[in-house]
């Protein structure tokens, strides 16, 4: 049988050409075995792939973690941090979790991608309001985001693990739609805690470190309500990476949540709105009281 995968091909070529290179990097073990320098990178495993040395990966992990903590708008650095910290163990664990589940295996075989071309947003808007697709597109419209904002994976060496990372990244918006958490910093931290408990990717855990950049009330809510919710549900729920979202667009949201074992958290937008209004009312009362005192004083 002719060789049909990259490892067999390169082995066959080596036999044919009878040239042995003692430092030929093994494609599958690439992430754990550094046999190359920055001047001698191995060929990319997929389009856009950049094989990094351990030193580069460490520097990228630290640099991107610090800068994205200071400036959370740098989504590209959050993505890079995720890729730099996921190897060698955590992304393999996620990919193996997909391989253990029949739907996960189907996803790895079909390799579906989520973008505005593969998802027809007008059709989703036409769905009944209790469906996942409708919740997703309503959430997209409310937050003002599009499904195309995700960077391509570049620093994961194994091609299939790179797809798993890409899938995890693209599904993040569906997690928002399923849980109803908004894209404000507070909601993102809660969702990242949930993702960390569910996928065990280190970047999600590091992102929870952003809880110390939240305001006092938000932090208290995280420790009291959303943090425990995230850990409880992340651990006990099914692996979210194994959900074939494209097939669940017409499923009822509550039924999907029940099937996956997730409770709906308290609506964060409503809570924040209520708190904002309460603060506004208190401020107005204080001002009115201050005006009364001032008028009484001038009247005297």
């Amino acid at each position: 049988m002719p060789p049909h995968n990259p490892v067999q091909l390169s082995r066959a070529a080596t036999r044919v050409l009878a040239v042995q290179s003692p430092l030929k990097p093994h494609p599958v073990l690439l992430s754990s075995w550094r046999a190359f320098s920055v001047l001698n990178r191995p060929p990319p495993a997929y389009e856009g792939h950049v094989p990094l040395t351990k030193l580069e990966r460490g520097a990228l992990a630290i640099g991107s973690a610090l800068i994205s903590l200071a400036n959370p708008r740098r989504a590209d650095l959050i993505a890079a941090c995720g890729e730099a910290t996921a190897q060698p163990y955590f992304i393999q664990r996620l990919r193996n979790a997909m391989l253990r589940h029949p739907t996960g295996r189907r996803i790895l075989r079909d390799r579906p991608r989520l973008s505005s071309t593969t998802l027809s947003l007008p059709d989703l808007r036409a769905l009944p309001s209790n469906t996942l697709g409708h919740a997703y597109v309503t959430w997209l419209d409310r937050e003002g985001v599009s499904p195309d904002t995700r960077d391509a994976v570049r620093y994961i060496d194994d091609e299939e693990a790179a797809y798993a990372m890409q899938r995890y990244r693209e599904c993040h918006d569906f997690y928002h739609a399923l849980t109803g958490l908004p894209t404000v910093r507070e909601g993102e931290v809660a969702l990242k805690a949930f993702e960390f408990a569910n996928t065990l990717l280190p970047m999600a855990g590091l992102a929870v470190g952003a809880v110390f950049t939240l305001k006092k009330g938000e932090r208290r809510r995280f420790w009291d309500v959303y943090g425990p919710w995230a850990i409880r549900n992340g651990v006990s729920a099914e692996e979210m990476i194994n959900v074939y979202w494209e097939e669940e667009l017409e499923t009822d949201v509550d039924e999907l949540r029940a099937r996956l074992g997730i409770e709906k958290p308290p609506d964060l937008r409503d809570i924040r709105k209520a708190e904002r209004e309460k603060r506004k009312r208190e401020r107005e009362e204080r001002e009115r009281a201050a005006n009364l005192v001032a008028r009484r004083d001038t009247a005297r």
């Binding site: 001047l39 060929p43 590209d76």
Partner: protein
Amino acid sequence: MAIPPRIALFRRRIPQSIVRPVIVRHCRCFSSCLRDAQQQKSTSQLDDGLSTTYFGFEKIATGLKEARVGAVFSSVASSYDTMNDLMSLGVHRLWKDYFVRGLDPGTNPLSASPPSNALPRGWNILDVAGGTGDIAFRLLDHASNVHNDYTTRVTVTDINLDMLAEGRKRALATPYARSSRLSFVEANAENLVNIPDNSVDLYTVAFGIRNFTNKEKALREAYRVLRPGGAFACLEFSKVNNTAFDAAYQRWSFGAIPLIGQLVAGDRDSYQYLVESIAQFPNQTEFKDMIMDAGFIVPGRGWEDLSMGIAAIHKGIKPVEGSAPQ
């Protein structure tokens, strides 16, 4: 994410005659392959007549290079200074200062002997690919402060409008912003349509010429616009002359610089292109020969190494009528 053909893996093992017709689009060559390839000319013809050139290590059709370099510089324009500081650890400022000091632009109007029927005129300097104005501001400052020459003027040309916009913005912080001494013009160095022959006293290009699609054409244009006796001066990255230092420098270039580009500017690919274009640029001797081929007289050795060859200053003089060029 299709797996590209593993052509690059075989490149070193299969003889050139077999691998030559294949264009490697998605694989980046190893730098060791590049050292073999450096023997070839930078532009070459394929069997079907399509002319190709190098964009970093990637081989592309010649007509596409300008647009791709344009995209790189539009992308880096706003963080250009920060990135330069990070990549060279601030040393680029010292190089540029030294470059301008060596050129010594401007003539003191009191000491120079004017032509009998005219007031002393300042230098007419053309700074090519000088979009953000680094060199232009230094030239004007030197002429004004060292020689009290307030008539020397600089025309900054660049092919990229974003870089020119950045330059105009920076000029606002200098005394030259609304004076006639500084102007920003969009132009292609290979075809300077707005500049008449024999009109420029000093032609400078700093860290620009390695991005040109056709360096020989740009050198010939430089020759055309310079007046006889005028000077061509080029500050550009070049080859390090010490092997041990070069090993460290290469690893910094290919490892740290794209990483810093990713962290600071969010653009790894542009900085990968920049370091590859540095590796692709001819060495000091070859570039000196190119300058001489364009007709310039080259003084002394022809170049001066800065920081052990990381950068080099090349100079040439357009011969005056009657004196034979080398």
